[in-house]
Amino acid sequence: MFLASAGDPLFVDGINFAVALAVIIKVVLAFAFLLVSVLMMIWFERKIISDMQNRVGPDRAGPWGILQSLADGTKLFFKEDLLPDRADKRIFRLAPYLSAVPAFLSFAIVPIGGTITFGHYTTELQVADPPIGILFLLAMSAVAVYGVMLAGWSSGSKYPLLGSVRASAQMVSYEAALGLAVAAVVLYTGDLSTRAIVTGQEGLLRHILPSWNVFRLGFVPFFVFLIASTAELNRPPFDLVEAEQELVGGFHTEYSSIRFALFFLAEFMNTITMSAIVVTLFLGGPDGPGFHFLRWLWPILWFLGKTLVLLFVQVWLRGTLPRLRYDQLMDLGWKVLIPGSLVWLLILGGMLISFKWGLIVLGISVLFGAALIRARSLGAQRVGEVGS
């Protein structure tokens, strides 16, 4: 069984005017969708958090305060753009771009629906379908580290510097866990393309459950990905980057006006993209039982519904969990999530061959797990020997 992804069928005949027009329409729609959903997401988050804390939340701008984020965003255009004099001016100006542009780009690989046909052209409902698919996401989150790191460094101020060093170490640590969780999905799909990952999840598992990766891979990669992506986004409970009590505003303390707005935009855009990626990788993407008279619209509704549930989960986490301490954060990433997901991946590989091989890999993993626990207790006594 091998799902070779041929990419978006839009480009089979090369590029002509109609194809270029289709590309432009898709890109503009995706761009507008992202911007509008960020505005909605900020409002949604504030409203839900207010409900959880027995407050009313924004209720002045528009019905139920729905235009609040638009008002806030517009206001930021009229605010003074400060450039601290200790800042490294060029990099200080560059950093918001490095944060915002990857945030836009990583949404490109998310399949939001099936295919759509117009004239004799067929196109997939996603901005782009490159063969390396999900690796593109990892590449973009690798670039996003630079935005945070350089923003803090170039500010020439204490709190941003501390925040950015913390943040980049955190993002880098959880990127490894993220990559390992995705590798499990690739193992079951046999392809890196997000479209192939989504089509590989159609159908039923043992005639009851949908054959989504969350069930097929035994939940562990799903939860690892969920935790690691929350940490990668620097969202609560992993928001040590901007822990207000310690670091004022974290890496973007010195930023104001539209430069600050771009960091904020990137953060929420990444939240939306990551939730969409979780849906794509583990929850079958636009797959779901449904009414076929709605044709191409129905999968999109499924996709939006699932993404909304995950966004609610993100808000819920923020409303309930207290922030982790830095050593707890690093311990969770390095000593639990990374070894756990690596071992789970290899066990899955064994199980794909036969049950016996799965057990053999499990046995080896238990040995290494015991060694790891021993190493942890040794390490706890020798802290300070290396580094500090």
Partner: protein, 152 residues
């Protein structure tokens, strides 16, 4: 190659959006810098020291360890892609197990040297000595109404 055309287009749109917002903000926003505004923000306290120039070596170890895992992950992806189609999956699995075990040994070595322990040294705090003389009668002072009246 053409599959990346939409990404290029989105890149251009995103960069244009960011650039145009800066321009718009430059036109709309006031610009009246003062010494106080352009000083590093320290909650109102006048900054008198440069930000720290050096950071704990442990950050370097984290980045080093990340490179190692990143290389492992980047090998895992092609491995995962061909795992289902290959004629000899057992061979492939053993290969990757050997590789992962070797990397894991390095990881365990690092952990056992406490290189990833960030917290303060976890030590047992000596227990507060308990003496039989310390009861609620001897340690808690009760303010009797009489004493309060005398004080007043």
């Amino acid at each position: 190659m053409t599959q990346y055309l939409p990404i290029l287009a989105l890149f251009i749109v995103a960069a244009l959006f960011a650039g145009l917002s800066f321009m718009a903000s430059g036109l709309l926003a006031p610009y009246r810098p003062t010494d106080a505004k352009s000083a590093p923000y320290e909650c109102g306290i006048v900054p008198d020291r440069e930000p720290a120039e050096r950071f704990p070596v442990r950050f370097y170890l984290v980045a080093m360890l990340f490179i190692i895992f990143d290389i492992e992950i980047i090998f895992l992806y092609p491995w995962a892609v061909i795992f289902k189609e290959t004629a000899s999956p057992v061979f492939l699995l053993v290969e990757m197990l050997t590789f992962a075990a070797t990397v894991f040994v390095a990881f365990i070595y690092l952990i056992s040297h406490g290189a990833l322990d960030w917290g303060p040294l976890k030590r047992l705090r000596p227990m507060a000595p308990i003496s039989p003389a310390r009861t609620s009668e001897s340690t808690v002072r009760r303010i009797r109404p009489a004493a309060r009246d005398e004080a007043a």
